[in-house]
Assembly symmetry: C2
Homo-oligomer: 208 residues x 2
DNA sequence: ACCTGAACACCGTTCAAGT
DNA sequence: ACCTGAACACCGTTCAAGT
């Protein structure tokens, strides 16, 4: 009985030692995916990980910190998805459109996670925090893509920051409206993103 | 003492009779403005209105319904603000840009209220609900403005729905990013909205 | 009809105590 | 160091009872 109650050697130590923080984040991501942010409770997370209700206070000061870690993790895979779309579509005009569509696709595939990243649950104030850095690095992918196109004469030469902010806002807005189910027309979110990127392209061409 | 404890004639009846629903919504709007959505509790709202904790269940099935009523009220004044900007700026190209800026201004002035309207707290599923109607009516202002400009040859003739959705998403995205404090550059939200409307204009001109 | 008080089933968080 | 159990101060919601 003593043996059968231990599924793996040192399972107990494995749970409680070192990787509880990571296990907590992974568990939270899964719970949020299945039941939304409001479905995440510290007590439930502790129970899922066979750990005391208060164990996670050793790794996070409070629930907000856990959510911030979840959002940070989200921004990192988000950045990877944007970069992959940009590169695998050959950069340039096509890659840029692909990146816009990948943006919306990420949000549609991970709606709850995306909401944690952008839903205003976090302070997002501490400019030094890991979260802010991860968010800025995702934004940087867009900024770099614009600068590269400007260098190639594909986008008119001007301050890339407001350009990037405008485009970010457009795809972010599409993502949010789609997630909220507020786009009633026939189009999917990705189709609308394609449409938007085409219109944006017309508005930022060098000749325009 | 009996008299001094009654600030107004029939104050008690006034509180509890007929207008409790409206008083509850107004109180919730104020609380949300001051302390955010998470600061709104039914118990606190009841206490503020000198009413029992459970009194409001006579007027709303649950807390979600109260928030939906708050959002509905928000969409109505939102619609009025958009329409006022469109009309007082002389419609056409100028009015359209003014409407975009008014959109972001509303969100900046009423961030918490705006978040309730778009934050995903509500189901927004029931297409028949008052909330959906109020939201659709606000969207309709944008749709009408586009159609009017198309009739005047100011916007290329094509299906106005994706056009409206794209523009809605752009200003919505700006509003959300500004509210979340995620736009670090020098520009204010309204300035970015002006920039965006100019770029959007270039992309939807008949000649483009 | 509308309102009330007590109670239920949850939360996040703290804290003294264990190993 | 890391974890635990009990306790505290909150929630939303229900329900029998009052007028």
């Amino acid at each position: 009985m003593a043996v059968s109650s231990r599924p793996q050697r040192k399972a107990r130590d494995a749970y409680h030692h070192g990787n509880l923080r990571e296990a907590l984040i992974a568990q939270a991501v899964q719970t949020i995916r299945k039941h939304g942010v409001e479905g995440l409770t510290l007590r439930g997370a502790g129970a899922d990980l066979r750990v005391s209700r208060t164990a996670l206070y050793r790794h996070f000061p409070d629930k907000h910190a856990l959510l911030a870690a979840v959002a940070t993790e989200g921004f990192r895979s988000f950045r990877a998805a944007l970069l992959a779309a940009w590169e695998s579509a050959g950069r340039g005009r096509e890659g840029f459109a692909a990146m816009g569509m990948a943006y919306v696709r990420f949000a549609v595939i991970n709606p709850s996670h995306y909401r944690v990243m952008f839903g205003g649950f976090l302070d997002s104030a501490g400019t030094e925090s890991e979260l802010s850095v991860a968010g800025a690095e995702a934004f940087q992918v867009l900024l770099d893509a614009i600068a590269e196109q400007q260098a190639q004469g594909l986008i008119r030469a001007e301050d890339p920051l407001p350009l990037a902010q405008y485009i970010w806002a457009a795809v972010h807005g599409i993502a949010m409206l789609v997630i909220d189910g507020r786009l009633q027309g026939a189009q999917t979110g990705e189709e609308l993103a394609r449409f938007a990127m085409a219109r944006i392209r017309t508005g930022i061409d060098p000749g325009a």
